[in-house]
């Protein structure tokens, strides 16, 4: 992935097929993902036992749609209320501009050390690499993110960044990079990370976090987490910078409880997370802790383009629970790194083409069996399979052409082949004589038809056409009736 610091393991969506091939040949990766995803699927199912799930999903979808219907107004309202609360709001058209804004905030405080809570948008804009280029160290504080950062990797799941690693691998990473003892004792490793990171929380000049929901009505930033690193990040350093995509805004505070209920249960099967943190202002006069400055960076980075199209807009409903990847047979087998994008799995396959263009991501919409599981479990009812089909069409130039890189997979040979087939199929006489000739020449059919025959037997035309068989059957039936 471009924009990563030197030494970070590189994956790219352009190499999806090669990376998938490598992952499929790695039994450790397959076992780690299989085990994790099986557990998550059953936990999610059980966590909705007491709920009218369909009604809750309907409400979640409607809340997200209502927010999107009023998106520009809500963003302005959010900005006004945040500013009134003392939170400074910044706007960024793309990842580069967002990085520059965060860097400038850091530089204005002479910051050398940034501690980060988990934020997928910051991954999307390659914030760590940008800050490091400016001489500012950015350290991940979510344990999973910390482990993948130590291992010079990127996250492989949006909720569980280190899910591709097993206990032994994590033990080895911590031993190599931090000098802990090699062990399979998870409590020991967790305690070691706690100790290492506590020092960093105290020393950090700036804390950077993501945002799960930004409430326009009150100017409140909501963060969902279990570890407490998010609370540390947004409380201990003197400056807090929250970074979010523009689609994360919701209209009212009362919209939050249903979305929070859907998010935690869909993501990890938890009925609730340990912490739900709602920040509405910097430290006020008389208060004794919390940051003295809070900044909110609103990042577009292609989202306003998705917003233009009635169909594609549904992508923006996403609340980043990861349920679609937990239930995807493709993701479960190849793992998150294979996709080569910040957002892997089904949601990544519909979001990434907008963020990076189809030139880079043309294979991702095909990384699906279209089994429909992703759409069935999506807590806000995003029709992911329909959007995958739409993007497949866009990639071969059959959509509206409003996705960056539309038509990239269109080839003259394929177009000519399909046009030829269309002509044949609509001219019965030619079709009949053609299939008859093909049947007679079936011995000449090649045994290999490119990659298609890597895992399949090449088709051979039948010696007798279906049309001829039916005709023969009808004729013999008439003879029997006449006797």
């Amino acid at each position: 992935m471009s924009g990563q610091p030197p030494g970070v393991e590189t994956y790219t969506p352009r190499e999806f097929h090669r990376q998938a091939h490598d992952a499929l040949g790695n039994p450790q990766i397959r076992a780690n993902f299989r085990k994790a995803m099986d557990g998550l699927m059953s936990k999610r199912r059980d966590s909705f036992d007491d709920w009218d799930l369909e009604t809750l999903r309907e409400l979640g979808a409607n809340i997200r749609l209502r927010a999107l219907a009023r998106l520009p107004d809500l963003l302005e309202q959010l900005e006004a209320n945040c500013e009134a609360n003392g939170i400074r709001v910044h706007w960024a058209e793309d990842g580069e501009e967002a990085c520059r804004i965060v860097r400038e905030i850091c530089e204005s405080h002479g910051a050398r050390s940034v501690i980060k809570g988990k934020s997928m948008v910051s991954e999307e804009m390659h914030l760590n690499a940008h800050l490091e280029e400016a001489g500012i160290e950015a350290l991940e504080s979510d344990l999973g993110e910390y482990l993948v950062q130590l291992n010079q990797q990127t996250p492989s799941h949006i909720i569980m960044p280190a899910i591709h690693l097993n206990t032994d691998e994590i033990s080895e990473i911590l031993h190599d990079k931090t000098g802990t003892e090699r062990t399979r004792d998870v409590d020991y490793m967790t305690a070691a990370a706690r100790q290492q990171l506590r020092e960093r929380f105290m020393a950090a000049d700036v804390g950077v976090s993501g945002v799960n929901f930004a409430v326009a009505e009150t100017g409140t930033l909501c963060l969902v987490e279990n570890e407490g690193n998010g609370r540390m990040t947004t409380t201990v350093p003197p400056v807090h910078v929250a970074v979010t995509g523009i689609e994360k805004v919701v209209e009212q505070l009362r919209d939050v409880p249903p979305l929070y209920a859907l998010l935690t249960r869909s993501a990890t099967g938890q009925h609730v997370t340990t912490y739900f943190n709602m920040i509405s202002s910097p430290r006020k006069e008389g208060e004794h802790d919390g940051p003295k400055e809070v900044h909110l960076v609103l990042v577009d980075n292609g989202r306003s383009n998705i917003y233009q199209d009635d169909e594609l807009l549904d992508t923006l409903r996403c609340i980043r629970c990861g349920a679609c990847m937990n239930h995807c047979p493709v993701y479960t087998r190849v793992g998150g790194h294979t996709y080569g994008t910040t957002y892997p799995g089904p949601i990544g396959s519909i979001l990434s083409p907008h963020l990076m263009g189809l030139e880079e991501t043309k294979d991702l919409p095909t990384a699906s069996s279209l089994c429909g599981a992703c759409g069935e479990v999506c807590p806000v009812k995003i029709p992911i399979p329909d959007l995958l089909v739409r993007l497949r069409k866009e990639s071969v130039g059959e959509g509206r052409g409003n996705v960056p890189g539309a038509g990239i997979k269109r080839t003259r040979k394929e177009v000519a082949a399909w046009k030829g087939f269309q002509w044949l199929a609509t001219h019965p006489a030619v079709w009949r004589s053609g299939t008859s000739v093909a049947g007679k020449l079936r011995a000449l059919t090649p045994a290999r038809l490119g990659p298609w025959t890597d895992y399949r037997t090449a088709p051979k035309p039948a010696g007798t056409t279906l049309h001829a068989l039916v005709k023969r059957h009808q004729s013999s039936k008439t003879h029997q009736e006449e006797r």
């Binding site: 009212q252 739900f276 709602m278």
Partner: protein, 226 residues
């Protein structure tokens, strides 16, 4: 044109035209109809399922329960406020107990390392709790800053039994949160935890390793454990 104006213009001049906002029916997240007993039972079931401990106690004797918790956990240094009735009563009751009471009415910059390294427990009041998820709700104040429920390895929260409500939606609506949010509003449901190492649950990764909720009952508690 600024990034702000460009983004807003693009959103306002949407190619496929204006969108219609659907109606939202919130019935599914409210109207549970639980009795007070059911609420408490649910709250306790959920919070203990995530490693929280619950101590039921008669309102008049809650500080005895607190002293018991501190003794059981071997706490020698307790951070707490000075003005909230919970803190006032605790300070008075613990005056003769061998526990150092650490004042939190000073800016964190003055005692950050002390708080991170030497305080063994933090005591806070709560504004209420949520039965459906086993969550406490706290609005930290100058008297009870944010970090005393996060930094010490043990968080002791005092909850009045009659402040447990059904759902988060009910709490937000009944207490008109939207009318004035504090600097930081919090739901806390158990001690800090992670499953980032091969899905194995571990507690105390960044925040408290233990959470004890002392539930104060106006009448006789359902099961007086202390």
């Amino acid at each position: 044109m600024s990034a702000r104006d460009t983004i807003l213009k693009r959103l306002r001049e949407r190619a496929d035209g204006p969108l219609t906002a659907p109606e939202c029916d919130f019935a599914v997240v409210t109207n549970r109809g639980w009795s007070q007993e059911e609420r408490l039972a649910r709250f306790e079931r959920w919070i203990t399922s995530v490693h929280g401990e619950v101590v039921h106690v008669d309102q008049a004797r809650w500080t005895e329960a607190l002293a018991g918790v501190l003794a059981d956990k071997g706490v020698r240094r307790l951070a707490l406020g000075k003005q909230h009735p919970v803190a006032v009563e605790a300070r008075s009751a613990l005056a003769d107990v061998d526990v150092e009471l650490v004042g939190v009415d000073r800016d964190i910059e003055q005692w950050q390392r002390e708080q991170f390294e030497r305080v063994e427990a933090g005591l806070t009041s709560t504004r209420g709790a949520i039965a459906e998820t086993g969550s406490l709700w706290l609005w930290p104040t100058p008297d009870e800053p944010r970090l005393i429920s996060l930094v010490p390895p043990l968080h002791i929260a005092v909850l009045d039994a009659d402040t447990v409500e059904d759902t988060l939606f009910d709490v937000v609506e009944a207490h008109a949160w939207a009318g004035g949010m504090p600097t930081n509003a919090l739901l806390i449901s158990g001690p800090s935890k992670t499953a980032n190492i091969e899905q194995t649950l571990a507690y105390g990764v960044h925040g408290p390793r233990e959470l004890v909720v002392i539930v104060r009952h106006a009448g006789e508690p359902p099961k007086a454990t202390r």
